[in-house]
Symmetry: D2
Subunit: 382 residues, 4 copies
Amino acid sequence: MDYVYGPGRNHLFVPGPVNIPEPVIRAMNRNNEDYRSPAVPALTKTLLEDVKKIFKTTSGTPFLIPTTVTFLIGQFSLLWIDQQQRLKFDVDVVESEWGQGANLDILASKLSSDRSHTIKAICIVHNETATGVTNNLATVRKLLDQFNHPALLLVDGVSSICAIDFRMDEWGIDVALTGSQKALSLPTGMGIVCASPKALEASKTAKSVRVFFDWNDYLKFYKIGTYWPYTPSIQLLYGLRAALDLIFEEGLDNVIARHNRLGRATRLAVEAWGLKNCTQKEEWFSDTVTAVVVPAYIDSAEIVRRAWKRYNLSLGLGLNKVAGKVFRIGHLGNLNELQLLGCLSGVEMILKDVGYPVKLGSGVAAAAAYFQNTIPLIPSRI
Amino acid sequence: MDYVYGPGRNHLFVPGPVNIPEPVIRAMNRNNEDYRSPAVPALTKTLLEDVKKIFKTTSGTPFLIPTTVTFLIGQFSLLWIDQQQRLKFDVDVVESEWGQGANLDILASKLSSDRSHTIKAICIVHNETATGVTNNLATVRKLLDQFNHPALLLVDGVSSICAIDFRMDEWGIDVALTGSQKALSLPTGMGIVCASPKALEASKTAKSVRVFFDWNDYLKFYKIGTYWPYTPSIQLLYGLRAALDLIFEEGLDNVIARHNRLGRATRLAVEAWGLKNCTQKEEWFSDTVTAVVVPAYIDSAEIVRRAWKRYNLSLGLGLNKVAGKVFRIGHLGNLNELQLLGCLSGVEMILKDVGYPVKLGSGVAAAAAYFQNTIPLIPSRI
Amino acid sequence: MDYVYGPGRNHLFVPGPVNIPEPVIRAMNRNNEDYRSPAVPALTKTLLEDVKKIFKTTSGTPFLIPTTVTFLIGQFSLLWIDQQQRLKFDVDVVESEWGQGANLDILASKLSSDRSHTIKAICIVHNETATGVTNNLATVRKLLDQFNHPALLLVDGVSSICAIDFRMDEWGIDVALTGSQKALSLPTGMGIVCASPKALEASKTAKSVRVFFDWNDYLKFYKIGTYWPYTPSIQLLYGLRAALDLIFEEGLDNVIARHNRLGRATRLAVEAWGLKNCTQKEEWFSDTVTAVVVPAYIDSAEIVRRAWKRYNLSLGLGLNKVAGKVFRIGHLGNLNELQLLGCLSGVEMILKDVGYPVKLGSGVAAAAAYFQNTIPLIPSRI
Amino acid sequence: MDYVYGPGRNHLFVPGPVNIPEPVIRAMNRNNEDYRSPAVPALTKTLLEDVKKIFKTTSGTPFLIPTTVTFLIGQFSLLWIDQQQRLKFDVDVVESEWGQGANLDILASKLSSDRSHTIKAICIVHNETATGVTNNLATVRKLLDQFNHPALLLVDGVSSICAIDFRMDEWGIDVALTGSQKALSLPTGMGIVCASPKALEASKTAKSVRVFFDWNDYLKFYKIGTYWPYTPSIQLLYGLRAALDLIFEEGLDNVIARHNRLGRATRLAVEAWGLKNCTQKEEWFSDTVTAVVVPAYIDSAEIVRRAWKRYNLSLGLGLNKVAGKVFRIGHLGNLNELQLLGCLSGVEMILKDVGYPVKLGSGVAAAAAYFQNTIPLIPSRI
């Protein structure tokens, strides 16, 4: 079954699915249970309460959806545009060059000219997994406030929430979502959506929102206290419980600080190697994934292949427009500094393998120098 | 976390989710993996090939969907009717009394009078989990053939496939589906759909089908050999592999025979207790779930509550129209005869607890007498 | 690997190793750790403190030995006699017929005549696993007190401690031991010994005791707070933690009461079948294992073989003098009433299989009638 | 329970217990079983057969002992000397300075002068875990042959077998032993001993050997085909099966080559840091553990403490004579190159933390340069 077994540990550095902590694997190591017994609603209640904390919301309503979020998302954008167009809605797609963040100037000008409020919703990805670009949601909110615009703010936080600073209430986000296999460090299979009171209100009337996901099914069961309109995965529920416990034990802000350390160290290594970050400006640098641009004479897919075949290292391919041109280092989820340094030294060897004149140890040294000054003591071990 | 822990094993006799075999729990006890590595397509390929065997099809195309099937189904019926009505389609719902199978006489008369073939599809549940009613799909096919009717035959096999005789090709079924947490004995989270060539063809033109699930996303990735349009659950893939291995080791026909033994023994026990099966005729008896009707002076929900609180036994509630009137014994999935006998003796004690004058040991004796004559030696231990 | 896989759950009713609770399996599902890190002593400290509770001692000193206790025991008796004889010690073996408890009259007369205290130690098995005989330790203590005799009281509590009432301090026991795979419901691999201050004192001078197990190695490391003179099994330590947590959650006295229910119900079933308990008097009946005598025309080993081959049921063989004459039902560890009833109905079918004219359901009915009047609600579910 | 949890993976670089591969953890994730069922002897038979391969013997007889080997060993040397002295045997201890291998010149001279063969056995540690010194067993055998000396050759292979070239038959070793938690990458709890026909023969007469471990108990059960004189750990048996499968899949020689790569790379890093290996000559360099000497102004224990508290890295302390003077990097078991590089970069940061003027990246670069030229493709992924 594990016919591709390699000795030692697989070094998983794709931007999701990420490493699952041992206590979470343990928590999910269980038989099925009757989800209609009183135990499951009692557990669910704590989960819904605690999930709000990772969205930094007190007024939002969370939903745990048994699905793959990347699927939702892929479908989401496509279906949404498609659906809305079929429903005679006008979708105004503001495209950016790959490697750039959302163009907020264009947004500002659109909002400023939309005096009749025909724009119903702003949809934005917090962290673009394909290029490692983080958008500034606080600024988006400021623009909406500045123009007193009532549009809903819908955010794809799949590769950001629980790893990059995210503040649902403070930034007035109306719908946000993430997936279990990203910063929560769970297996794939659960989408986590949080909706503001305004979004819930809007969903009662707006057909377009209701199409792709009907909150009312959930809300009905929330009200009667059994919580589930369908059979949930018992294993993922206990896994989520364990994952949240670990996050709270470390402290959400410490988790975010750790991701910042990992992101910075990775960028310092890339710089030391003399390579370029696909992200074009520092303000967009992502703390969960770094897309590294390779010289034209190298096929980045060969780097990914070799990593897996020779070093038991899993890196992310360049997708779509940047296929062959970038490889990606995912540095999110349950990961620490020494794991990243192992990965970076692997990347150095691979770069050399494929003919790039890197100085072995250069990236690791740059990252380690930064780490050595910033890694805190593990609180539980002081 | 397990704050409702009771000593010893939980006796799980709801009609899904069911007991997961230890080797399957073991197979899923793993970290995430990069699903874009060559390992995952290679594994998926064997799964798609082997999944066809449990549908008994060689020409069908299987799809593994990351979702909860009961949700799909619940949504399915509702959304489908709703959607089709919005699309100006005519949905002709043939309702049966609860406890009865599909009325095939009505179907026959409808088919016979539909000379212009306005009926596009027949949708039928193979085994109704709420009442323990199994419909005769072979007869449905015969009727379609008799009237030379081209309608698609769509089957919900959620609580039948892998436990009750099911023959996709032989019975000319066009779409069939099941869920991981039923007879496959996996956690919740994966829907397994199989489509006939005719259904695939129809999906290219029929809008109604395309709405709830777009096969084309999958087919595109099947063609390029990476198989997944989204991130699959690595754990469920390895779990499915282990579950199929166990089913094939036991032999699919032996699995079905075992379910027949479990079903018959349960019905003999119910009879011995002097209680009625909710299923009104023997031809509809289900081998995966038995809904037991309780006397009017007993609340069946109290039986279920007491089972859980006192005996660590999980039984199924009566749903909807039969709430309070029936309780359900699920006898599907990874289950053997002694487990069922333990359950039956538990039910006897509970019946006595709630005031029904059952003779302790009567149901167990009836079931055991049948088992003692029919249980085969375990092949691997002969 | 699991080439003897049978569908459903194995019904494990040997008198050890017993069923491991799911939370304990989960707790042991982990990688190795450095046992010299501060984490392991901290964990060990809680274990040593809590282990004393299951011995009901406050003054005793517990030792966790990385070995198989049945081995120790087997070796123990033999080696001890051998060793002591080599050391010119006099070993006075008081044998009882199989199925009888220790003859305390003989003990009384020996103690009464031993005015010069040449008897240095009384060695006694609390619960004899081979025949299901429980000795009365309180009476042994009374005899020692009555004759003011200073002999050490050494007790093999392998199949009693944590399942049958045991009171180290109250009964003045000097050395007691049990094994992980018995009532603690862990894997095999850890012996747990507890020594009274008197025993520790004696071990400083008595060569005979020091030979088989040297406490001083442990005590040295206890003093410096690292606890381990050798590498412990990290997995068993975490497993023991989880096992103790479950026992304390249920309540040690409730655990003992549950074993008493299981023992009584088993004996009622045996009686209903018209068979004899190998234990000759009620005062010696064991609550952890019942040895059932079969008629002369039946080979009890055939019952055990058939149980495994046809019913996925593991029963205990008759050993040594009662080989072929008895089979044993182990009812200890993490077990509840419905599990036992499943086992009993299995035994009924097997008895019929081998030609004994049992009335199916008779034993189950007798056991269930007793259970139905005595099973308490599960405290965590009230 | 995991109150010392740190984010990400613990980097376990003590010279045992070592990292357990995921498939092995999985294989041990199971309930107890009746060890008297036919399944356990069948499994044991394959284990005994396969264990011989890792000793490279065809004529030896292996024993799986339920104990902790380091305990045995610690006790072994001490008890042995003590016991033999008590039995009036003459023990001639040839001590070497710490950091040096066994002095084979002294051995040669002793053997040459022992014409009456009063020397009954040569006891030697293959790889000294405390200092990282590997002795040359082939030379020891040559000396014995050269002087035609019949002494038994007894080898402690605890930290060598399965990681460093070991050839029981070719080198005429009579007794060799290892422990589960070392290169086999299992939990602690199983000692594996292999005895040559000559050793078995000797054990029939020699009292001194019989004292610490009686093979006859085992051989009796080997003969009747049930294999176990006591209750084995079912979990460790299945774990051993999985561990051996992984070793054979990788290829024993590849496993040894991998350890050689890891050892060499570590030594290159130590050299690059300007530090000394505790092992004084290259011929004694160990491929499973490297003891690094720190400058006098640094307390090596502080390095180990800091590794754990800040970097989630577990290093080995200096023991006994070299306490405070060396720290140890264990590089054995289920480990790959990138894991080691992560560890080495961690050590660099710690060295800087404690005031040693290391150039960050220097050791990693030296190791990586060696690796980049030597790491083979993973065979299963070519």
